[in-house]
Assembly symmetry: C2
């Protein structure tokens, strides 16, 4: 090779590190101010059409430079957030994030390891975070685990292990097609849609998921469950798994997990618990008794970016028997063989425990945040959110213009504006308009659901910035908007 003709080599590193450093400092100042002042801004606002149009520009071919890239961020991106870092955001079940969590994401991206395997420190950090999670939730210390993108993936991991472990043949090799009997799974009608999605993905078919009715407090009806299992066995199906809910998405209901564990034990079924946010309620000494039985799960799925307030993405899957976990996912071709020594050494290869082979350093934000605050403080904040939910429920019950639509066992409050002379259909229309008006006002951002045919404003509190006064503002504003709409027909 003639080196005379080789062009000069370049890299993506800055020509001037001092300028990059200065830009980093500017970003720190800007984003810290953004966080510190979030309460002074609207929760959410619709995005202007001209901003949407901006994002239609074609591929940048020429460099615009670091400075311009940041200017574009400041001008077009930063002013149009989802709003979930705001104290009055309570939509879906969405976490808030923290300043140190944010900084930890930068440090993680600076080190930029692939936490799929090999012998380097990020694996040890993740292993410790998993140990801490087990300790926090009272789950067996010898269980295996994996940090994942969130609850959907954690459910998928747990249910994949369930499927493969309960198959009476080598399902990895032969596939679902080879099952002598169709496998069936059980959970309440209030089970999160990600469970159905996982069952579909696994090739089991959504019709294999028996959605059992709930009782008046939205917990799974145990006798209905037992009947369904019995009937399925009689009809030649193979029941493999019960999914218990620790905090349903609609109302925060917690199934009777201990009884579900008993049934699984008796029937030889896999016990998976979806504790997306509710699992963390064990950190509240008052609520801990409601979660008895969770520690008996064969697999447990939960999020850290919801009720642990970590920045996106981080969820966790725990599996009681490491062998079940590993034998479901481990696959080691020549180019991934582990060594005794060297870079490919180390005993922790997380890619053997899940779907991802390339994995980011999401453990770092959890590790640093848990050191920063300690588990007790997380417990207090979770209790604080529960107390706030009760406070809001009591406010709703005190007001003749409002109606509570479900019990409030945890951190979710479903209610609506009511008026004597309106039927349910009219109330549904009115509350739908009211919610949009409320969101567009920027004052508060609940989401919604439908409970027994009634359109509900749904307030899910996994927000460490919310204060009691924020719920007073919500109540006032909902009543004000409702009355205004009653009079004018318009928000």
């Amino acid at each position: 090779m003639n080196l005379e003709n080789v062009p000069e080599e370049e890299s993506l590193d800055p020509a001037d590190w001092q300028l990059m450093r200065s830009l980093g400092h500017r970003m720190i100042d800007d984003i810290m101010t953004y966080l510190e002042t979030v309460r002074t801004r609207p929760v959410w606002q619709p995005i202007p059409e001209k901003i949407k149009a901006y994002f239609k520009q074609p591929l940048p071919v020429e460099p615009q430079g670091t400075e311009q890239a940041y200017q574009d961020f400041l001008e077009y991106v930063l002013p149009h957030p989802m709003g979930n870092i705001h104290p009055r955001f309570w939509g879906w079940v969405i976490g808030t994030g923290t300043p140190l969590g944010m900084l930890a994401e930068m440090l993680a991206a600076g080190m930029n390891p692939n936490v799929g395997g090999a012998d380097h420190v990020a694996n040890y950090v993740e292993a410790q975070v998993l140990d801490w999670c087990k300790e926090m939730l009272g789950y067996p210390a010898e269980a295996s685990g994996l940090l994942v993108s969130g609850g959907s993936m954690a459910n998928l991991v747990g249910l994949t292990v369930a499927r493969n472990s309960k198959a009476e043949f080598d399902l990895r090799t032969h596939g679902v097609h080879a099952a002598p009997r169709k496998m069936t799974l059980y959970g309440s009608q209030e089970t999160h849609s990600s469970v159905q999605k996982a069952i579909e993905l696994l090739g089991l078919g959504s019709n294999a998921f028996r959605q059992i009715p709930v009782n008046s407090d939205f917990k799974i009806d145990i006798s209905g469950l037992e009947t369904a299992i019995l009937e399925d066995r009689q009809e030649g199906y193979q029941p493999i798994c019960i999914i218990g809910n620790a905090g349903t998405v609609n109302t925060g209901a917690i199934d009777d997990l201990d009884r579900l564990a008993d049934i699984c034990q008796r029937e030889g079924l896999w016990f998976h618990v979806d504790g997306a946010f509710g699992a963390l309620a064990v950190l509240s000494s008052e609520l801990r008794p409601l979660l008895v039985g969770m520690e008996r799960a064969d697999s447990l799925a939960f999020d850290l970016h919801k009720w642990m307030y970590m920045p996106y993405e981080v969820g966790c899957a725990l599996v009681r028997q490491e062998d079940d976990h590993r034998s479901t996912f481990s696959l080691t071709p020549d180019y991934l063989t582990h060594s005794d020594r060297g870079l490919a050494g180390g005993s922790i290869w997380f890619s053997d425990y899940g779907i991802q082979l390339s994995r980011g350093f999401r453990a770092l934000k959890v590790w640093m945040s848990m050191k920063e605050h300690g588990a007790q403080k997380y417990g207090r904040l979770i209790q604080q959110n529960i107390d706030q939910a009760r406070y809001l429920a009591s406010q709703v019950e005190d007001m003749s213009e409002l109606q509570l639509l479900a019990p409030v066992p945890l951190n979710i409050v479903c209610f609506r504006f009511v008026a004597d002379d309106l039927d349910d259909e009219s109330l549904n229309d009115l509350n739908k308009e009211l919610l949009i008006a409320l969101q567009e006002s920027g004052v508060a951002a609940p989401s919604y659901t439908v409970i027994d045919g009634k359109y509900a404003l749904r307030v899910a509190i996994t927000n460490h910035r919310s204060k009691r006064e924020d719920f007073e503002i919500l109540v006032r504003e909902v009543i004000r908007l409702g009355k205004k709409m009653m009079h004018s027909g318009q928000p």
Copy 2:
């Protein structure tokens, strides 16, 4: 509720924002210096046992504070990296990251949106990044897409759509069990293990994956493929999909994608292309002709954290027919219903196109980086890595102590140290020890594979910091270590 008894509310925000701001500035300085000086440090070093032991400490219950959390990071985490940000890291296929990519991760975690849906700017940023990816790769503009954690997930998304679209019944509802004929998929023996993993996950069974032999340049043998499909049809299977490789993990081989597309068209099969890193070689005008046919794929999987040098995690799945994509993954219960207006408005709900419902703002680092550098520069850097692979291959061929073990069509060089008087078994032992000695020295970090029974040092170059001199250092050090081990029996 008696407010007298309610404890004072707290949050996870800092009591003193100025201190948090100062810490952020310190972090910027520390991590920028870390990146700027990376070349002066060893690529990788084994982690001391006392550091490993540190990560066994139990759950922090009391707060240690922000400052201490960062001190622990500096002392226990930062000094023990994987090494992939170093100019002489070439293990597996692992990207490098960039300073602006790192800063963008902080900004993303500061805004902290959930990019699963709702009407906020992060969705528009991701949609634009997907448009840019399509434009860059010459893929149809009307295709749908999704940013994912990486290649494994991108392959899983593509193959899930393939399975559901090619089923002659409603597979989401009825499952694989209901298939009248067992479905089969086809790819070369060099296909990445994540494809097998996806097939297992989907319940199709790894025995449904026909691993077709390769020819001498490690491309799929077309006539072997055609025979396999024919035989399967005769035996009552239902062929559904061919997986084409754009850059195999062992040697960087690129299948004849245009012929595979022809076969898929003729046979009515889904054409999935795994272009984890190789797809990006279209940015090199010299290599673009090798990838002809990729644009005909029904689904295309590739990474941006490999050969686009983005920080972890970010990969991409593209699907030619949006309907196929959406109908595979969309599931909308009451609590996720989309609106015309308000926060739950907007036309982009990425959770309808993949497994995750909670999704982080991984698009931002791509968006800012592509503005920073422009597509042309990425093309030059990819070409630079290809030129470096050729340079290393030529150096290997010039040295009697070294042997090239596979052609170098792309950016992967497989070679070994050789000596006349050693047979393959002895050479395998020697090269294995040599690699570990090389890694432990901190001079360079290739990984390894086995090619035709021969243990190979494997150099995969997706590193924007590597220079030609780094490969000269590698060659010198491999020869020095090999000779030393020949004489002493020890590295």
